[in-house]
């Protein structure tokens, strides 16, 4: 199997398991504290990886602005909100909601990129929405 595919599988395991460990940690910690410590650890490992794979170049201002916006979206309104959501509703409910990311991506590609989604893409989006609806309308989902 190609190394890229093995790495993507490892990433899926890391994110899937990480969500559950975060939930477990939030039994005794605030989402803010968990998010900051997790972000710090991710930053440290990425710094090592950047140095090993080629090092830092001096970035342009436009690159810094773009990554600053990404940082805001990923960590403040992304992961922090997600961890707050996880604390309130549980992993079982919120994990499938993140599966809706491709739907937002399709919406962005259509509205900003002028792309036209294929029938298969729309069928996939329908399956995701149905799946999330199935999880959210589960009356037995309430936490013990």
């Amino acid at each position: 199997m190609e190394i890229g595919i093995l790495l993507a599988i490892a990433a899926a395991f890391g994110w899937g398991a990480g969500d559950v460990f975060v939930r477990r940690a939030m039994f005794g910690a605030r989402p803010e504290a968990v998010t900051v410590v997790v972000a710090g650890m991710v930053l440290s490992i990425l710094a090592v990886l950047v140095v090993v794979t080629g090092g830092f170049a001096v970035p342009e201002a436009s690159f810094l602005v773009a990554t600053a916006v990404m940082g805001l979206l990923t960590w403040l309104t992304g992961n922090l909100l997600y961890f707050h959501g996880m604390q309130r509703a549980g992993v079982v409910v919120v994990a499938p909601i993140l599966g809706m990311i491709p739907i937002f991506s399709i919406a962005l590609a259509v509205t900003l990129g002028g792309e036209r989604p294929s029938v298969a893409t729309l069928a996939g989006a329908l399956a995701i929405v149905t799946g999330v609806a199935v999880v959210l309308t589960d009356r037995r989902r309430v936490l013990r």
């Binding site: 990433a11 930053l43 990425l46 409910v93 919120v94 937002f104 298969a120 609806a133 199935v134 589960d138």
Partner: protein, 154 residues
């Protein structure tokens, strides 16, 4: 009294669902920007590094007061956070490294199985805290199938 408690729990769950949906929209927009930067030739790990660096800066600035009181963590809690941090760090590094050798359209559906991986770990780590029903597994499977279909279509 129990009606009130049940009501507040339902409200908390609804809030959690709204937060997660907003998070999905945010993460998706960030991914859209990341794709433009990587397509311009910047290595994925470099993009990820600056993204996390700015994210950490914003988090610390925006939630400084909350962090001052919340960063005193018990050893047991810290253990779970460290394990989670290692998982997220390895996942991020693995995924961005993977993108150097496979297309995003191949990697994204693979990462789409995250809800099912989480469910497997819920059975081990959150036994007695969260309930996994047949409907939740069916729903998560549909989500994973949908993500795979979109990945295959692209």
């Amino acid at each position: 009294m129990s009606v009130l408690r049940a009501g507040s729990r339902t409200s908390a769950v609804t809030q959690g669902i709204v937060f997660a949906a907003l998070a999905a929209a945010s993460l998706s927009t960030a991914g859209f920007i990341a794709k433009q930067l990587v397509d311009d030739g910047t290595p994925g790990v470099v993009v990820a590094f600056y993204e996390v660096a700015f994210g950490l800066l914003f988090l610390t600035a925006a939630r400084a007061r909350s962090l001052r009181s919340g960063l005193r963590l018990e050893r047991g809690v810290l253990r779970w956070i460290v394990i989670a941090g290692i998982c997220f760090a390895l996942a991020t590094a693995s995924f961005y490294t993977a993108l150097a050798s496979i297309d995003f359209s191949v990697g994204a559906p693979i990462v789409g199985v995250v809800p099912l991986v989480s469910y497997a770990f819920v059975l081990i780590v959150l036994r007695g805290h969260e309930r996994l029903t047949v409907r939740s597994v069916l729903g998560a499977t549909l989500v994973v199938g949908g993500v795979a279909l979109i990945g295959a279509a692209n």
